[in-house]
């Protein structure tokens, strides 16, 4: 747990980069600091591990004023990852990840297994990468090592300053997903600095929006999107915040778990029945294991005499969305393929539900009635 109590940072030139900031980061949560450039995100973060001193107020780390802990000891208990990564170029990957365990005087055998575990955790093959040097890795791999190094001695707290900021958008998405997955396992208390609102919404359990060294709003992503406190926040999160909210909802939370489906071996009448009964325009075809094989639409079902001739057979990945994707993904899939209803599958391609354009519309309307403001 990290508590900021009325923290002020005044630089020697008189500039107040942080101006009376109070905030509490709960154990195991990712708290995102976001705001325009120069608003004091980095300064605030770096005061936690005393890379920058506090001018007034105090910061409690797990209940203790961080000035009561010797700086080096404090920093070894707090993971630190930065945008520039800052891997030590003259050390191997192994040595880089082992830095803090070495500083703490761990036994070599313990360090070895720890490094291997961490490299695996961040998706690098230890045997392949351990003895390489940073310059032999790609940017994405280097940042993975950067995260592994920050996790070096299993610190309860992590500070991450735009860790994925310098990485190409595709790799960034992958790293974000992976990191969320890792966080599920390790449950660290994390301060995560970014200037990218999409990243903030995706990564944050709570988001602190900063402006000129003060907190403007500190809430969950959903609340910030639904109830922006003022025009600054509204502008900052962007006009498409209704759409962004859809990005917070997982498909399996809102999908219809009883999708219209017929078995691949079934007679054509069965398909006609389902379509008629449920007043639909089409139904999905699944094989014996419940995996999606294609779909059959109303006209074809009435025209043809057998299901195999009536159906359109396609790989499931072409038409379906994954159940753990966001509703926003489903919407974008439906728009690009002009479907009114999209099948939802699990990771093995098994049909687990469906989601329709109409249900999405209802979802947005419900959200809007919850929200005090409606944006067109």
């Amino acid at each position: 747990m990290i508590t900021f109590e009325n923290v002020v940072k005044q630089y020697p030139n008189g500039f107040r980069a942080v101006d009376g900031l109070s905030l509490e980061v709960a154990p195991g949560e990712i708290c995102v600091f976001i705001g325009p450039s120069g608003c004091g995100k980095t300064t605030t973060m770096r005061m936690v591990n005393r890379l920058i001193s506090v001018s007034s107020g105090r910061i409690l780390v797990e209940g203790r004023d961080n000035r009561d802990i010797p700086a080096e000891e404090l920093r070894r208990k707090i993971g630190y990852a930065i945008q520039q990564i800052g891997l030590f170029p003259h050390m191997t990957i192994y040595e880089n990840v082992a830095v803090v365990p070495h500083l703490l005087g761990w036994e070599e055998s313990r360090i070895r297994s720890q490094v291997d575990r961490l490299l695996e955790l961040v998706g690098l093959d230890p045997d392949e990468q351990r003895d390489k040097y940073p310059r032999q890795l790609s940017g994405g791999q280097q940042q993975r090592v950067g995260v592994a190094r920050a996790l070096g001695a299993d610190p309860p707290i992590m500070l991450m300053d735009e860790p994925f900021g310098a990485i190409d958008p595709i790799t960034r998405e992958v790293l974000q997903d992976e990191f969320l997955q890792i966080q599920k396992e390790i449950s660290k208390t994390i301060i995560f600095v970014t200037h990218d609102i999409d990243e903030a919404i995706k990564m944050g359990d709570r988001i602190a929006i900063l402006r000129e060294g003060r907190i403007v709003q500190f809430d969950t992503p959903d609340t910030i999107l639904a109830h922006p406190k003022n025009n600054f926040v509204r502008d900052f999160v962007g006009a498409d915040r209704a759409l962004k909210r859809l990005g917070l909802v997982r498909i399996n939370e809102v999908m219809d778990t009883d999708p219209p489906m017929v078995a691949y071996e079934a007679k054509i009448e069965e398909a006609r029945n389902i379509i008629q009964k449920r007043k639909l325009r089409s139904a999905f075809v699944v094989d014996r294991d419940g995996r999606l094989r294609g779909w059959v639409d109303k006209e074809a079902a009435e025209r043809e005499t057998s299901l195999t001739e009536a159906m359109a057979e396609v790989p499931y990945s072409d038409i379906a969305v994954r159940q753990n994707a966001t509703v926003r993904d489903a919407l974008s899939a439906m728009v690009t393929r002009s479907f009114r209803i999209t099948p939802v599958v699990d990771s093995k391609g098994k049909l687990v539900g469906s989601i329709s354009l109409r249900s999405l519309q209802e979802l947005v309307e419900r959200d809007d009635s919850e929200a005090s403001e409606v944006s067109p």
Partner: protein, 533 residues
Amino acid sequence: MGGIIASFGFFFLPLLELKPNRLASGIPFELLQLGGDTRYIILFLLTFIVLAVALNRTTETRGWTLVALGNTMMFLTLFLGALAGANLIGNAETLLEGVNLRNPRILPSAGLILGLVGGYVTLFGGLSDLRKAKTPRVALIVAAWSGLALILIFLLTGQFDIYSVMVEFRARGELLGNRIVEHIMFVGVALIIGFVLGVGLGLWSFRDERMAPIILYVVGIIQTIPSLALFGVLLVPLARLGDRSASSIFLFLLVTAVIAALAIFLYRRFVQSFGPRLRQAFLIVTALLSAVPLALFVVLLSSFVFRSSFVVFTADGTVFASFRTLLSAMLLVSIALWLISRYLKKGLLKRIMRYGGLGGLALFGLTLLLAVGIGSSQFLSRVDSFAALTVRDLGVSGIGTAPAVIALTLYSLLPMVRNTYAGLVNVDPAITDAGRGMGMTPSQRFFQIELPIAFPVIMAGVRNAAVSLVGIGAIASVIGAGGLGDFILSGIDNASIDQILLGAIPAVILATLLDAGLRGLEQIFTSPGIKQV
């Protein structure tokens, strides 16, 4: 390409010169005139064929072919040159009719030099091919040195004695050995002192950014003095200095140091509030004021260290380190410790180094005082006499090796200071920040991050200094320091190329070996993660 140029040179430029005696100028001979020695022509036609083949092969085959070719060219150029030369000497009577023949000699001429250069260039090209093809190290070393080794063997067994340089060498071989040792001595001592001071000052300027411009200015100013002038300039004041009593010169050092410290203090304290013009002026004044005690300090230190007899050989064959040597070593180590400790921030190591360094300095001063005080006492006079100490007794004198060491030390400062500073300053701030953020102490950061990353740059400075000192050291001969410059200077006086070469060739070899040795050290201690490929 180089090989082709060289071969042309070989054919069309004079290969050898036949001189009637040591001083008279000789008659050039071209390859085709050399008694129809067809072996040459066949050899070089052959090389073209091999070359043509080699250019179309894989890098490895081409590399080995070029290496073989280069080595052969260098060797055969000398070997066949020697054969042809012997021939010429044999026929000297007829070739140089009517000239007074006294010890006729063979001088290598442009063609022969080109042949060697061509061979070297070819060899070098081959080596870089092999390096690209990832040939094992040992094989590379063999490839690089086999030709030279062969030449060396022939040299040592007297096969090449026909060349005039070798004649000169035979005549002065013993002297040459002495000169080389002298050269190595004063270059080496200057390099060691320069290393301690230079790297120390570099660390200091890195540690304290307000000191950086002052220090860099001071060593920069010293570097701008032409070397010959510096030797000359040192001549008079050092001779004068020598007459003073040691205590007065220490007093002078103390006073100038205090003044410099005051200037530095004022500069650091107030420079912020000045405009850019005034700041610049203030900086220069401060730097000049600090240059005086620094230079004086180097003078005393270098003289003292150099004048010490490093080892004393006694009649029964045992070796003692002399009293002064111990003192000098203590002095150097103390300075090194103190300067390094300035870099470190709080911590046990800093305290140990700081007090160790200061303690060592104090002990040194005390011993010196003691020595001055009871100079004539039994104890001291038996080991090393400090009686009636004048500055000259400390080693300071206008001529000889001491001023040479002083000047060379001063010259070595700039590359060492600059590279140490640049190497450390250019460590990516993100890397140091990461180290800080992970909880490294300042000394851990220095020894585990900054130093290893800056190391190749620092070593480049040391190599730079080493190579230039070997060269500048040759000039030290004008102030009677000895060394290889003696041959070169007398060679110039006598217009004798042989003598010049006798001084120059060992100097080049010395510089090359020193560079290679230091490069080797650099390679060994540089992490593969930051090595240039």
